[in-house]
């Protein structure tokens, strides 16, 4: 369990997330891609904390901040999907031609 191996795994998670966020048409699937990217970032932060900082707790703090970002992203994403669905009956990006409500 070396640091490069950990960083490669987190890079793979991030890459899959980039693919998902760019290719999916459904709003919730795009959110899943974003969360995979954040999970890769968190894994990289924890790996660097464990292997390269000598256990400085600020490394863990960075991961706590990333988790907050993930919670904010999920909550706002769900709220926006509900709002768009209520007005346009749309669940896919292609069905939103205009953003003006």
């Amino acid at each position: 369990m070396s640091l490069p191996a950990l960083l490669v795994v987190s890079a793979a998670l991030f890459g899959v997330g980039v693919y998902g966020a760019l290719s999916q048409q459904t709003f919730v699937m795009i959110m899943m891609g974003l969360e995979l990217m954040l999970s890769g970032a968190m894994l990289a932060a924890v790996a660097l904390w464990a292997a390269a900082t000598g256990g400085n707790p600020k490394g863990q703090l960075l991961t706590v901040v990333a988790m907050t970002v993930m919670a904010v992203e999920a909550a706002m994403g769900f709220a926006l999907v509900i709002g768009i669905y209520r007005i346009r009956r749309a669940d896919m990006t292609e069905k939103i031609k205009r953003l003006r409500g």
Partner: protein, 209 residues
């Protein structure tokens, strides 16, 4: 950080599981299954964090994602077409660009991870990471912690405001375009009220000027 061959095997199993489950999120026809594949990926990442010594963070991640993925699965059933994946389907756009972007992102980040020279200072075996994190959160970094808390509060208020059915000035859909994909076109009455509302507002403005 746990050492030894057993920890290595566990890391490779969980690492592979995390990436493969993440990949299956976008390969499965069923959106509910996609939510649970994403949960599996997060569980694997959480276990790797536990292996690395960040026990608190790993388990908080699993706990948080268990709740979020349940909401996501319910959400899929409520809103999305074909949530159970009874018909095979692919719903993607700009597929080639997305694949290239994903591969480039992976290659770039993995290259940095393999080439860069990081300091070799592992966590001491005697360290207590959870206790240290607790002292940090309620000590030097309390401002960060509190800011995260206030941000989450603001998010809750914002999410409620965005998702509320009624706003301060009436129905949330007032003044919006008619739904494009409603199977039954809205009845005349609804159109009429929309126009009345519009004329009323315009008339008021003219009268005012």
């Amino acid at each position: 950080m746990s050492q030894g061959p057993l920890a290595d095997v566990a890391f490779w199993v969980f690492g592979l599981a995390a990436v493969v489950a993440g990949w299956l999120v976008f390969r499965t026809d069923s959106m509910v299954r996609a939510a649970y594949w994403l949960f599996a990926s997060f569980v694997a990442v959480g276990f790797i964090m536990v292996l690395l010594g960040a026990r608190f963070l790993g388990l908080v991640l699993v706990l948080m994602m268990a709740g979020e993925m349940t909401i996501m699965a319910v959400f899929m059933v409520m809103f999305m077409m074909n949530p159970a994946g009874l018909n095979p389907m692919t719903m993607v756009h700009q597929h080639r660009t997305a694949i290239v972007a994903g591969v480039v992102a992976f290659a770039g980040l993995a290259g940095v991870g393999l080439v860069a020279d990081f300091p070799d200072r592992p966590v001491a075996a005697s360290a207590e990471p959870t206790a240290e994190l607790g002292r940090e959160l309620l000590g030097d970094s309390m401002l960060v912690f509190e800011t995260a808390g206030v941000t989450l509060l603001a998010t809750m208020i914002g999410a409620i405001a965005l998702a509320a059915k009624r706003g301060r000035f009436g129905d949330a859909t007032t003044g919006s375009a008619a739904p494009e994909l409603d199977p039954a076109p809205p009845p005349e009455a609804e159109e009429g009220t929309g126009h009345d509302h519009h004329h009323g507002a315009g008339g008021g403005k003219e009268a005012g000027s």
